[in-house]
Amino acid sequence: MPEPGSTHARRRFTAYRIAQTVLGVVFGGYLAWRLFDIVFVHPAYGTETWVQFAISGIVLGSVYAIIAIGYTLVYGILFMINFAHGDIMMIGAFGGYFVLEALKTIPAGTASGSGLSFLDAYPIPAIILTFAVGIFVAALSGYLLEKIAYRPLRGAPRLVPLISAIGASIFLENAGQLLFGAQRRDYANPAVLTRGSGWNIAIGAENVVLTYTGVLTFVLSVLLMVGLYVLVRRTRLGRAMRAVAENKPVAELMGIDVDGVISRTFIISGALAGAAGVMWGIHLGLVYYFVGFVPGIKAFTAAVLGGIGNIPGAMLGGLFLGVVEALGPAVLGLNFQLKDVIAFAILVLVLIFRPTGILGEVLTEDKV
């Protein structure tokens, strides 16, 4: 921010801006050239592969979006990065995992007569129960997390809650490892939702699979996003949340129970993370104690990308990040091991060049 009356500072930051623009143009040009090259000049993949990449990107992106909303909600209210958010997602994923494992062993009863388990005989109640338990467990941990690790730190300097959050994240990851072991576990989906099965769509001569789990994930996330939007925009609690985000002391003077609202915000964000965890398990299959870390950071990237504190921004940022991550290695011609580097690079670039995000100015630069 150039300060008025300080020509020295103004000149320096103008140079900074020019450097930013030049770098941005160079990078954007390179990207456009790569895109042109790979699509028209040296087509490495057929159309169906691109569509498949895009589909998986959108599905993954919708999960990121759901997690990102949790970050954004908490950041909007407390100006604090809830570093342990990804681990709440892990807890939700494990909650769902145990429900599915239990339902797998319970026989469907005499009514169906076949040797099916409850899981395969009644997939819809089973999935609903899985989501319910995953969401409940994660919401409960979100509530407890806030109560134990963050509430005593209200009003402390900003690094203090961040370090507490890092500590909570380490604690939850290791508790997960000690409780459930280090091995990766397979989610036991009901037979109708077998991973990889889905509708075949013909594109040209090839088929593209639109998986059932992917569709379920995407539809559910859209429903959750719409629900959340309505909650924040139309309900009393949503109004209270926005008031607390705007100004805590004034909100309290208006008769809002600030601590209660913060608690409920953590419950909502935990519930979303839990839903995302179960979706992750059902769609991608593997859960383990560290499963939340990388999606957590990526979702944070998504939240920053859309402008942190901005709910539609988080949704958009999540979808964008998912698609970029799915298409990026192919477009840039990178090794697929470096998929995560793309997300981190976007994070770094956005924070450096446009810390207010794409969708705008929710925070002033001073808060950044």
Partner: protein, 525 residues
């Protein structure tokens, strides 16, 4: 009374969850082993020593719960009977929770369900231990009664301690003694005399020189690790503690230092075989340059955004090192082995003792440099910038160069640490440079006290030394780190040995925003 009972009930719930959690992560068994090391308990009948040790540990938990139950919701003093009643209630809740888990687990075991697939700590031995060799139902009843009794005992202890007014009196006497001692003329004179300080330094140096000779190889290795972490801690101390820039990608500079030495001296993948001493300045300079390169783009960032960007940088470097992309250059996921060590007057550094001396020398040097920096113009500029960047700029501090200095010097220290690390281990690989290193260094600073040199040293000993002493607790070390970070932030955010300025500022400012509400939920007027 009703609120008080509710608080006692809550304490029981909390302790129940904690005890069950400790059982499920297998900590109860480990703790029982530790108890067995301290007390050799001759058990009779069907009770094996392991079970008896577990019983002692659970008794401690029960007494603590009862203590907490009687202490919850302070108000007017309890009578003996209410204190006992409340703590017994806490114990009862604690017992009910533990008993139900014991019954559940025991019953599942009787039915032949294998639980280790889901909860790997529930080994048959561990279950037998907590069942005390009884049937599940009777074991559950036993636990219930046991916890209630222990809770009441804890309540009695709490009440007994609480009634005697010895605690404030003792504290007052101790602080009077301390102040009195500090103000006695001879003590003041002794403190003012520079010879005292030099004498203390001399004693410390002699101790440091003798220490590695007295220790075995294993402890020397540990001491070397602690020393390297002191270097890292002092470097991060400049960035985070003095300049207030939270850097979570600090491990990147450590990696640059160790990979510089490794790639320049190792036979593979480049076969350069340089001398170790040449790589020291190169590693330091490269790390410092990397620090500046990282610093330039993040100059305008503050607080948590900076933390996330640096975390992103650290992760990118970690992923690159681990992937196959750079295998030809850095050895890829397998790392670099056969790193050359230093030679002095033709004699190679062979044992860990030699390296301990080398690392100690480096630590002393860095402590000296840090100390001088802290009191220099740039050190004061860092602290001013940490307090308030805008004001610092208004005071004529060039914020940009000051920040870059902090990044560069902090990174240089980490580079030195990395150089020594690679040379001592004769190996370096991506696993040595993961996120946990950054977190460990940050934790040691927080535990020790940010911005303070003794704090960084004490923190390194606490976080790298203590776990070596308590080897049984190895599995729970990282878990404890996490919990420790949270607890430190809540009860002592300034660290164990804080710098005087930190002490003032780390406390929550109650006036800044609505503070914590009263426990019973009543609204402020």
């Amino acid at each position: 009374m009703k609120t008080k009972l509710r608080e006692s009930l809550k304490a029981g719930l909390v302790y129940g969850i904690v005890t069950i959690f400790l059982f499920l992560i297998g900590f109860t068994g480990t703790a029982a082993n530790l108890v067995g090391k301290v007390i050799h308990f001759g058990a009779g009948g069907s009770l094996t020593p392991a079970m008896a040790n577990l019983m002692i540990f659970l008794a401690v938990m029960g007494i603590l719960a009862g203590y907490a139950g009687a202490r919850a919701a302070k108000g007017q003093a309890d009578t003996w009977s209410t204190a006992l009643l409340r703590s017994a209630l806490t114990g009862l809740v604690h017992g009910i929770m533990l008993a139900s888990i014991v019954y559940l687990v025991g019953d599942l075991k009787v039915q032949g369900v294998k639980m280790t697939g889901y909860l790997p700590q529930l080994l048959p031995d561990a279950i037998n231990q907590i069942l005390y060799g009884m049937q599940p139902a009777s074991a559950a009843v036993f636990h219930l009664v046991f916890m209630t009794v222990m809770g009441a005992a804890g309540g009695a202890a709490a009440h007994g301690i609480g009634r005697g007014a010895w605690r404030p009196r003792a504290a007052a006497r101790w602080s009077a003694f301390r102040i009195g001692l500090a103000q006695r003329p001879d003590v003041l004179k002794l403190r003012a005399n520079p010879m005292t300080r030099y004498g203390l330094y001399a004693i410390a140096v002699i101790l440091l020189v003798l220490l590695p000779r007295l220790l075995g190889q294993y402890w020397n290795y540990t001491l070397g690790t602690i020393g390297i972490y002191v270097l890292l801690g002092l470097g991060l101390n400049i960035v985070v503690g003095l300049a207030g820039l939270l850097d979570l990608g600090y491990v990147a500079f450590f990696a640059i230092g160790s990979y510089t030495t490794a790639l320049l001296t190792a036979p593979n993948p480049h076969h350069l075989l340089w001398s170790f001493w040449l790589t020291v300045p190169i590693g330091i300079v490269l790390a410092a340059l990397a620090g500046i390169l990282l610093g330039i783009p993040v100059l305008r960032m503050r607080g948590d955004y900076l933390a996330i960007v640096t975390l992103g940088f650290g992760q990118i470097i970690g992923i690159l090192l681990k992937s196959d992309v750079l295998t030809a250059f850095t050895g890829g996921p397998k790392g670099v082995s056969g790193v050359g060590g230093p030679t002095l007057f033709g004699k190679p550094f062979a044992s860990d003792i030699d390296f301990v001396y080398l690392i100690m020398l480096a630590v002393l040097l860095i402590v000296f440099v840090t100390n001088r920096l802290q009191n220099s113009r740039v050190g004061r500029a860092w602290e001013a910038m940490r307090e308030d960047e805008t004001v610092a700029r208004a005071m004529g501090i060039n914020v940009l160069t000051t920040k870059l200095m902090a990044f560069a010097i902090g990174a240089a220290f980490a580079g030195l640490g990395g150089v020594l690390f690679a040379a001592r281990n004769q190996f370096t690989g991506p696993e040595d440079h993961n996120l946990m290193v950054s977190i460990n260094v940050l934790s040691l600073l927080i535990v020790g006290g940010m911005g303070s040199i003794p704090g960084a040293i004490a923190g390194a000993f606490a976080l790298k030394g203590l776990p070596e002493v308590l080897r049984e607790l190895e599995n729970y070390r990282v878990l404890a780190f996490g919990a420790l970070l949270v607890v430190m932030m809540i009860i002592r955010p300034e660290g164990l040995i804080p710098s005087s300025r930190r002490k003032l500022e780390a406390r929550p400012d109650k006036n800044a925003s609505p503070g914590p509400q009263p426990e019973d939920g009543s609204k402020l007027p």
